[in-house]
């Protein structure tokens, strides 16, 4: 993975430097310099993400491949910042304000992020489910000559798809209208409801009553840029770590179906008028606006492929709904174009979802590992007094 590669080289550099620094015993200046380098890197990486095109199927903004890039960026930043923290931290600092407060806080935040990773993993399974349904629709719609049978088959799959995509909000009116307006089958009624609207079952939940929106809210608490003399050293580094983690988790929640997103905040504590946060703030504004637009409508997520799938799905439902053998040529051509697009979306999902799932798990394991390393550090500094669980 890219993240890991970056990590080793960057840390290698810092560690060599650190050894030299230790020998010289003038570490503060070096620390500031390291932080500058790091901030520059963060800024560049997010700028790169910000420059992604809005509507190019290959690597569009918020597409699966974009999210993968985002997670790679996260892994790199995480590795570097943690490395700097571990190297720069000594017993004297850790037990003193403000680190004595900041470090436990970040550990806590990591745990919260882990739950989000799990929620996202569940969400990705839902996306996979959507993909399967869309594939059925494509399979049916690609049939030539196209007849009423395949039309009904496609419609059934697409309606299931729409239902699957909108199960996020519990008693959402969207779901009901979806069901009503697209109800199908000969005899109507509940019996003919597609059997797939049950992702609300347990395995789709992180835990009972768990809410992604609340989780993000809790994570943003106390994430404030350090001021005054603290602004340059480790507190600053910890702030960057926090901010990136919160931001990335927030993006995941907006993009991928997630348990309970009602009331998801669009406010993140990204400092304005600072050089290195500009690209981050840009991304945040862009995604936040998008979220505000789509939130009320109720949707699976901002993930490019999902959005695309939803749009194409709706339009194809209309097509299949009104289809009467042998059909109109114009409409058929129009539909064929959309089917090709939908097929492309499915292909992207087929290609990207498993790697994304693995990457999410990698993020999870990385967070656990880093957290343990920080705990080890605390352990060393407070060996004798630390209470045993």
């Amino acid at each position: 993975m890219t993240g890991t590669d970056n990590q080793s080289s960057f840390l290698g550099r810092i560690s060599i430097r650190r050894n030299q620094v230790n020998a010289m015993d003038g570490s503060h200046e070096q620390e500031i310099e390291d932080l500058d380098v790091f901030q520059k890197q963060v800024s560049d990486r997010f700028a790169d993400l910000l420059s992604a095109p809005d509507d190019s199927p290959a690597d569009a903004f918020l597409s699966i491949s974009w999210i993968r890039k985002l997670l790679d960026v996260f892994l790199s930043c995480e590795a570097e910042s943690k490395g700097m923290l571990l190297m720069g931290c000594d017993a004297a600092q850790i037990s003193k304000s403000p680190l004595d407060r900041l470090i436990p806080e970040i550990l806590d935040r990591v745990v919260k992020a882990l739950d989000i990773c799990n929620a996202v993993a569940n969400g990705l399974e839902l996306v996979r489910h959507c993909q399967r349904l869309a594939e059925i629709a494509v399979l049916a719609l690609e049939q030539k000559p196209f007849g009423e049978g395949p039309a009904r088959r496609a419609k059934k799959a697409l309606v299931s798809l729409m239902l699957a995509m909108h199960l996020d909000d519990k008693e959402s009116s969207v779901q009901k209208t979806t069901e009503r307006s697209w109800s199908f089958g000969r005899r109507g009624g509940n019996k003919d409801r597609p059997p797939f609207g049950h992702y609300k079952s347990l395995s789709w939940q992180v835990a009972k009553n768990w809410s992604a929106a609340k989780q993000i809210h809790a994570m943003t608490m106390n994430v404030v840029p350090p001021r005054g003399p603290e602004a340059s050293g480790l507190p600053s580094l910890v702030f960057i770590m926090n901010l990136i983690m919160v931001f990335v988790m927030w993006v995941l929640i907006t993009a991928i179906p997630c348990q309970e997103r009602n009331g998801l905040t669009t406010h993140l504590p990204i400092p304005k008028n600072v050089n290195w946060t500009q690209s981050l703030a840009g991304l945040h504004d862009k995604i936040g606006d998008e979220w505000k637009k789509k939130e009320k409508k109720g949707m699976a997520g901002l993930l490019f492929e999902l959005q695309k799938m939803e749009k194409l799905g709706q339009s194809l439902i209309e097509f299949t709904d009104s289809f009467q053998y042998p059909g109109e040529k114009d409409k058929a051509e129009e539909a064929a174009k959309q089917v090709a697009e939908l097929a492309e979306v499915c292909r992207r999902m087929e290609e990207g979802l498993v790697p994304l799932q693995m990457l999410t798990r990698e993020v999870f394991h990385r967070l656990v590992k880093s957290r343990n390393e920080i705990l080890d550090l605390l352990d060393q500094t407070a060996k004798s007094s630390s209470p045993v669980v």
Binding site: E125, G149, P150, P195, H198, W210, Y325, P326
Partner: protein, 663 residues
């Protein structure tokens, strides 16, 4: 409806081919019963006629399919015989008939009828898939469209039935749980007993074990799945299967008392609750390994005939569940420091994961899971190692300055030995854990010594044994250090003997730990103990024996009375003092106690007896003898037998009870 009636006229099934009014059709249940007034002969004749017609039609249809399949030039539009249209109408009509029935019991009412239906659907699938390859004109295209429509209709019917049969949970809800609006299964917070099934109160049909399917419904699902897959509806079938099985497995987890917990919540729990969660988790994973997965696999195999499809479907399910199950140990790992006695819970989890991995290992379709599971297992192993090492730290840091009263076994010895004994019950697991640990550490530090290759009995090569001996050495060193807290050398040896003996007994009493420590250790330990014993004898009793020396009593060739008196006096004083003190000393091991007494008696009694025999006559009989010869040899023996009871100081009785009964 007109269509249906027409269809019926032209090509209905023989057994049910009697003309039926609308009313009759809708009340389907009646149609299996023979109308009372019906003329038997007429029915038979009509059935025969219909049978002949049907057979003829099917033959024609098969021939048509054959022609389509064997046609070389697919650009020539095939001619579609009229009988094919009739066939389509017949199928459509039959679909309508089945559709009237209650879902989940559509099939199985009449085997023959079902078979004919499935055969008809298969023929229809063949017609559609074969026609698909031709270039069609508008007329044949119309037929193709109708065939496609009817096929989809048939598939919808089959899918509905598949779903209805598969959705056991929903069916059972329909029966009795739905009534209460909130399904019990969701609410039950603590249905911890594994056997307590939600389906308990349901009709007998539901009393079968997970996955709660009768063999009949499995065979219907198999037929349906086969027909759907044959018609190219495999994706629908698989999506429905995966979704519903996931749901069913969720319900089963719930049924088993398992609930997802989020990391944050778990981290905040008290150990007691965490422990309960661990038990729960172990239960559910074992249940998965031993029951759920094999049963699920079997179900999958019996519904899906294609091995690869079945394997993929099962693999997906197992993956999805396992990944969720792995969240738990990961949550456990978030807590950094666990106290030593939590080792065993971690080892339980480790073992559970081992079994899960070997369970997955047998299953090719879920092999992808192994890396994830192994990572988690490895981490749990690491945690176990660090907990075990915590024991070393706690021994090292046990620096109490107050000696245990009466030289008794130190609590640390008891704790450590009981801990080790218990740990040895997990010796294979610990061996694995330490091996893994040493491999990760680059195995620089603790390359096991005495590697004798290919000799399974050479336990000394074991990583765990090395670790265990390290702990024992630490304990030895610590006990040795503690022994120096005793000012009196004799008591120091008693203390060393007590503790050494305790260790030796613990080791010998358990074959597990004995195997791990090895023979050498016991031999060495025994010889140490003999040395302590000798030292004790020397420290305590050599001076006493000196009193009874036959040397130095004579002055100018005569036994000096005053020296003799002095000797008796000091013997009495010394012996009394020893008796007084050492009665209070504690030797809890009965055998050790008796060995000590026997050996003391063996030295003291003969010496005393001989001294008495040789010199008592030198004292004046009567008063003097009474005054100086305080004890007869038998009395001395009796008094020696009172030693080491720990009786004098009441402290002795209340010794370290808590740890002495550790498992």
């Amino acid at each position: 409806m007109e269509k249906i009636l027409n269809a019926e006229k032209s090509g209905s099934f023989p057994r049910f081919g009697r003309r039926r009014s609308k009313l009759e059709t809708s009340s389907f249940k009646l149609e299996n019963f023979k109308p009372k007034e019906a003329d038997e002969n007429q029915i038979t004749r009509s059935n025969l006629e219909h049978g002949v017609k049907r057979d003829h039609m099917l033959e024609q249809v098969d021939q048509f399919i054959e022609n389509l399949a064997s046609a070389r030039d697919k650009s020539i539009t095939p001619e579609i015989p009229d009988l094919v249209e009739q066939f389509l109408k017949m199928v459509d009509y039959r679909i309508g008939t089945y559709e009237m029935r209650e879902a989940s019991v559509m099939f199985g009412q009449n085997q023959e009828e079902d078979s004919m239906f499935f055969e008809a659907v298969n023929r229809l699938s063949k017609i559609v898939s074969n026609l698909d390859e031709f270039i069609l004109d508008s007329e044949t295209n119309g037929c193709f469209n109708r065939a496609g429509s009817i096929l989809h209709h048939a598939m919808s019917l089959l899918e509905n039935e598949f779903v209805a049969l598969l959705d056991v949970w929903k069916r059972s809800c329909n029966v009795n749980i739905m009534d209460s609006k909130t399904p019990k299964i969701m609410d039950s917070k603590t249905p911890k007993t594994p056997k307590q099934s939600v389906f308990d109160s349901n009709p007998p049909e539901m009393e079968i074990e997970f996955p709660y399917f009768t063999s009949e419904s499995i065979s219907v699902m198999n037929r349906v799945a086969t027909a759907m897959i044959f018609a190219g509806y495999q994706p629908e079938c698989c999506v429905a299967y995966t979704s519903l099985r996931l749901k069913a497995l969720d319900a089963e987890f719930c049924n088993q008392g398992y609930e997802n917990i989020n990391m944050e919540e778990f981290q905040r729990m008290e150990w007691a609750s965490q422990e309960r969660e661990i038990e729960n988790w172990i239960h559910i994973v074992n249940y998965c390994t031993a029951n759920l997965f094999p049963v699920e696999r079997q179900l999958c195999n019996s519904i899906f005939e294609h091995a690869s499809t079945a394997q993929r479907l099962f693999g997906d399910l197992a993956t999805s569940l396992t990944i969720k199950l792995l969240n738990f140990p990961n949550a456990l790992l978030l807590i950094k420091q666990y106290s030593t006695e939590k080792l065993f819970k971690f080892l339980d989890i480790y073992e559970t994961l081992c079994e899960l991995i070997s369970g997955i290992g047998n299953d090719l379709s879920a092999k992808d899971l192994i890396p994830d599971t192994s990572i988690t297992q490895r981490r749990i192993g690491e945690a176990a190692v660090s907990i075990f090492c915590e024991l070393e730290n706690s021994i090292k840091s046990d620096n109490g300055r107050i000696p245990v009263a009466n030289g008794a076994v130190h609590p640390l010895t008891r704790y450590t030995m009981n801990y080790l004994k218990y740990a040895c019950e997990y010796k294979d697991t610990l061996e694995q854990v330490f091996r893994q640990h040493n491999e990760t550490e680059g195995s620089t530090e603790q390359e096991p010594k005495n590697a004798t290759e290919g000799n399974g009995e050479s336990i000394s090569t074991s990583h765990f044994a090395t670790q265990l001996r390290l702990v024992m050495d630490l304990l030895d060193a610590n006990i040795d250090m503690k022994s120096n807290l005793y000012k009196e050398p004799s008591l120091r040896y008693i203390f060393l003997m007590n503790n050494g003996r305790y260790m030796l007994q613990k080791v010998k009493s358990s074959t597990d730990i004995f195997k791990v420590t090895g023979d050498d250790w016991s031999r060495k330990r025994s010889s140490d103990l003999r040395q302590y014993h000798k030292n004790y004898q020397r420290e305590t009793w050599s001076k006493v024996l000196q009193c009874m020396s036959h040397e130095g009593l004579q002055v100018n060739g005569k036994v000096s009375k005053s020296i003799l008196k002095e000797r008796f006096k000091s013997f009495n004083a010394m012996f009394d003092e020893i008796h007084k003190t050492q009665c209070g000393w504690m030797v809890s091991d009965e055998q050790l106690k008796s060995e000590l007494r026997v050996s003391i008696s063996a030295v003291v009694i003969p010496a005393y007896r001989s001294f008495l025999g040789r010199f008592s006559s030198h004292l004046d009989t009567g008063k003097q003898q009474q005054k100086y010869i305080k004890y007869q040899a038998e009395e001395i023996e009796g008094l020696i037998d009172e030693l080491f009871e720990g009786t004098v100081t009441s402290m002795g009785r209340r010794r370290h009870i808590h740890l002495s009964h550790g498992k």
